[in-house]
C-alpha cells in the first residue's frame, strides 16, 4: 500500500527524521490557514499515490497567502497519472544547497533490503543509474543483522563526497562542516531503516534528500510503500489506505483478485498467470478485457458466482470468457458457481458465456453445465477456441 507524502512524513517524524514543518489541507482556505501558521514562503504539494506530480504541476512554491489559496485550489482539482489528488501538503519552504537521492528498498535479487544512494537527486536519478551506475551507492542490508552503523557511515561519506562535487546547483556551495553533515546523514539512513523495518515497508524513498546551505539535512519528500501482507501488524497504517473501487473491495473480501479494466470482455480464470495469459491472448486476437479476475486456488462456487456477478454489474460487458485449469480448483465447483449466478442475475440474460474447463473436475463440471442447459453458456475445448469465440461474440 502506497502512503501519501504527508502520511510517510508522519512516520518519518515519529522515527526522528528531519522533515519540514507542514500539515495537509483539503481546501484552498485550509491551505492558506496552514501557511499563515507556518510563515511564508511555503510549498504546496499534491498528495497523490503515484510519482510524477512535479512534472504535472503539482508542486508550487508560494510567497503570499493568496498564491497559496489559488495553488491549493488548482492542485486539489488535478489528477496525476489518472489518480485524483487527495489533499495538498503545505510545508515551510526549504533553502536547497544540494539534492541527493536516498532510499531503502526491497531487492528481489538480494532477497532483502538495499540502501540506495545517489549524489544527484530529482527526477533524473534513473538516468543517472543508467548512464553512470558507479554514481549510485547500493548497500545490501543483512536481514538477520539489520542496518549496521558502518553501512550508514559509508552512505553518509558518499553523500558528503557527492555534495562536494555536486553539479546541482550549478555552483556548488562547500559544506560548512562536512563531518557534522555526515553524522546527520548517517542518522537519516538509520531513521529510514527503522521506518522500513519497524513498519514493514518495501520502499522508503527520499527524493530529494536536501542539504541546506548551513549543512542541515532535510527529507523534502517521502515515498513509502507498506507491505500489504503485513498490514495486520500495523492497524494504524491499514486505516490510511485509499477508498478502493467498491467492486474491487467486495472481491477482495471474498478472496478474489479483481481489477476493473476498460474493455468489454469479462474474464474469469484461476491463477494470476493463467488469467494474464488469457488477457494476452485476447489482446493478440483484438479483444479488450473488461476486468482481470483470478478466483484463486480452490475457489468455491460462491466465489465464482460473485466473480460473475461483479463482471455483470459493470457497464458494457458483451461476452464472458471463463478459463479454468483445475488443480486445487475443481471444475464442478466452478460450474456450480456459474449456474447459480447465471440463474439469479438478471443482467446475465443475453450475455454469452464461453467456458473452458480442464484439469481436476473438468468432466464433472462440463456435465453439470450441460445438464443445466443454460441458453447463453457454451462449452469450448481449448483456449484458442475460447479466445476466438469470445472475440467474435464481442464483434457481433
Amino acid at each position: 500500500m502506497d502512503l501519501l507524502e504527508h502520511q510517510g512524513k508522519a512516520l518519518f517524524a515519529a522515527a526522528g527524521l528531519p522533515v519540514p514543518a507542514g500539515r495537509p489541507a483539503g481546501t484552498g482556505d485550509a491551505a492558506a490557514a496552514v501557511a499563515e501558521e507556518l510563515g511564508l514562503p511555503v510549498a504546496v504539494k499534491a498528495q497523490v499515490r503515484t510519482g510524477g506530480r512535479g512534472k504535472a504541476g503539482g508542486v508550487r512554491v508560494c510567497r503570499t497567502l493568496d498564491e497559496v489559496r489559488a495553488a491549493a485550489g488548482e492542485i486539489l482539482a488535478m489528477t496525476v497519472r489518472g489518480l485524483a489528488v487527495e489533499a495538498v501538503l503545505v510545508e515551510r519552504a526549504v533553502a536547497i544547497a544540494h539534492e541527493a537521492y536516498l532510499a531503502v528498498v526491497l531487492s528481489r535479487a538480494h532477497r532483502g533490503p538495499l540502501v540506495v544512494f545517489a549524489g544527484e537527486g530529482g527526477v533524473d536519478v534513473e538516468d543517472l543509474a543508467r548512464t553512470r551506475p558507479e554514481a549510485v551507492v547500493r548497500v545490501p542490508v543483512d536481514p538477520l543483522l539489520g542496518l549496521c552503523d558502518y553501512q550508514a557511515r559509508d552512505v553518509a561519506a558518499a553523500a558528503v563526497a557527492a555534495a562536494a562535487t555536486s553539479r546541482t546547483p550549478a555552483r556548488p556551495t562547500p559544506l560548512v562542516e562536512p563531518a557534522a553533515t555526515a553524522k546527520r546523514i548517517a542518522a537519516v539512513v538509520h531513521g529510514l531503516w527503522r521506518v522500513y523495518h519497524d513498519r514493514d515497508a518495501t520502499l522508503v524513498e527520499v527524493n530529494p534528500l536536501v542539504i541546506t546551505a548551513d549543512g542541515d539535512v532535510v527529507c523534502l519528500d517521502a515515498k513509502v510503500t507498506i507491505d500489504d501482507n503485513a498490514l495486520w501488524r500495523h492497524p494504524d497504517l491499514a486505516a490510511l489506505g485509499p477508498e478502493p473501487d467498491p467492486r474491487e473491495r467486495r472481491a477482495r473480501e471474498a478472496g478474489l483478485s479483481y481489477i476493473v479494466l476498460d474493455g468489454d470482455i469479462g474474464v474469469i480464470g484461476n491463477g494470476a498467470g493463467l488469467v494474464m495469459s488469457t488477457l494476452d491472448q485476447l489482446a493478440a486476437a483484438g479483444g479488450r478485457a473488461a476486468n482481470f479476475c483470478d478466483v484463486g486456488g480452490g475457489a468455491s462456487a460462491a466465489a465464482v458466482a460473485l466473480a460473475l456477478e461483479l463482471i455483470l454489474s459493470g457497464p458494457g460487458v458483451r461476452a464472458i470468457a471463463v478459463n479454468i485449469f483445475g488443480g486445487i480448483t475443481r471444475g464442478e465447483e466452478v460450474a456450480r458457481g456459474l449456474i447459480e449466478a447465471l440463474k439469479t442475475t438478471p443482467a446475465a440474460a443475453g450475455v454469452p458465456v464461453y467456458v473452458r474447463l480442464a484439469g481436476t473436475g473438468a468432466a464433472e463440471g462440463r456435465a453439470l453445465l450441460a445438464a443445466e442447459g443454460l441458453v447463453n453458456v457454451r462449452l469450448v475445448g481449448d483456449v484458442a477456441e475460447l479466445v476466438r469465440l469470445v472475440c467474435a461474440a464481442e464483434g457481433a
Partner: protein
C-alpha cells in the same frame, strides 16, 4: 534422476491437520509421494490420511527421517515453520503458504540459506518429479516422466503448459513452481544450474511473468553459456503499466519489468519464446529435434 526431490524423498507436511494440509496430503499420497509425517502443534499422536502427526519438526525428524517439508501453515506462522524446518535439518522446504510478510520471508530465507536448506516458494504450487514425488499442490495427473525441466513463476499456467507437453508425449524431469512473491527461494537462475547438472534433463521450460527481473537474470545466465535448449513463455503483455511510486525499483534492477523487455532479453540469449501456452510444446519439440 531429477532435481531437488525424487522417489527417495521423505516428505513432512507442516500444518497437516489444517483443511489445505489434509486435502493435499491425500493428493500427494495418491501421486505416490512418501508423505511420512506431519506436524501440528498440540496435535501430536493423531494421524491424517494414515500419516502420523507430531508436535514438532524435531520429533518428526527423529521418528521418521523426513528430509523435505511442505509448509501449509497460515501466513502469520510461516516464518516460524520455515525456521523450524531449517533448524530440524531438513534439506528442502517447499512453502505453499501465500500472504507472508516480506520481512518475515527475508529473515526466513537468510536463515535457510545459512542452514543450507533449499527453499521453494513461498506462495508457490510446489515441486513435482513425475512418478516419484509431488511436494505441494500441483495436480499430479497432468505430469508424466520425461526429460524436460520446467520452472515457473505461475501455478495454473504451469499446469496448462505441462498438460500441453504431456498431451504430445513430452515428459518432464522435474517441475518447479518457484512462486510469485518478491522474496522467494530458488529462482530461474538456481533452477537453470540444477537442470544443467541433471543428466535426465534435456531441455528447460521457463514460465515467467511481468514484474521483477528474474527473467532478465535468467537471460544473462543463459547468455553466459547454457548447454541445453531453453523455451520460455511469458504472461502479462497486455497488463496496464503499473503505477510506480518511486525510482528505487528501476534503479535497483535496471529492468523495466515489462513482458516485452523480458521477451527481448530472453530472445537475445537464444531462448525461444512461445506466443501462447499451447505453443510451448511445439517449440520444445523443435528444440529437442535440433539437438
Amino acid at each position: 534422476m531429477a532435481v531437488v526431490v525424487d522417489a527417495a524423498s521423505r516428505v513432512l507436511v507442516q500444518g497437516i491437520t489444517g483443511r489445505e494440509g489434509a486435502f493435499h496430503t491425500r493428493r500427494m499420497l495418491a501421486a505416490g509421494t512418501n508423505v511420512v509425517a506431519g506436524t501440528s502443534p498440540g496435535k501430536g499422536g493423531q494421524t491424517v490420511e494414515g500419516v502420523p502427526v507430531f508436535d514438532t519438526v524435531a520429533t518428526a525428524v527423529a521418528a521418521t527421517g523426513v528430509d523435505t517439508a511442505v509448509v501449509f501453515v497460515p501466513a502469520r506462522f510461516a516464518r516460524d515453520a520455515l525456521l523450524e524446518a531449517a533448524d530440524g535439518g531438513l534439506k528442502t522446504a517447499v512453502c505453499i503458504t501465500e500472504g507472508i510478510p516480506v520481512r518475515d520471508m527475508t529473515e526466513a530465507a537468510a536463515h535457510l540459506a545459512r542452514r543450507c536448506t533449499t527453499l521453494i516458494g513461498p506462495n508457490c504450487p510446489g515441486i513435482v518429479t513425475p512418478g516419484a514425488c509431488s511436494a505441494g499442490i500441483m495436480p499430479a495427473e497432468v505430469f508424466c516422466a520425461g526429460d524436460v525441466g520446467v520452472v515457473s513463476r505461475s501455478g495454473t499456467l504451469t499446469y496448462e503448459i505441462v498438460a500441453g507437453l504431456t498431451a504430445v508425449g513430452i515428459g518432464q524431469s522435474t517441475c518447479i513452481g518457484m512462486g510469485g512473491d518478491p522474496v522467494h527461494g530458488i529462482g530461474f537462475v538456481e533452477c537453470l544450474e540444477l537442470f544443467a547438472g541433471d543428466p535426465q534433463t534435456a531441455a528447460v521450460v521457463l514460465v515467467g511473468e511481468i514484474g521483477g527481473d528474474d527473467e532478465e537474470r535468467a537471460a544473462a545466465r543463459i547468455r553466459d553459456g547454457f548447454a541445453k535448449p531453453v523455451v520460455a513463455y511469458l504472461a502479462g503483455f497486455s497488463a496496464p503499466p503499473g503505477r510506480r511510486m518511486g525510482h528505487a525499483g528501476a534503479i535497483v534492477t535496471g529492468a523495466s519489468g515489462t513482458a516485452s523487455a523480458k521477451k527481448a532479453a530472453l530472445e537475445e540469449a537464444g531462448v525461444a519464446v512461445a506466443a501462447s501456452p499451447a505453443e510451448v510444446a511445439d517449440l520444445v519439440r523443435a528444440a529437442l529435434r535440433q539437438e
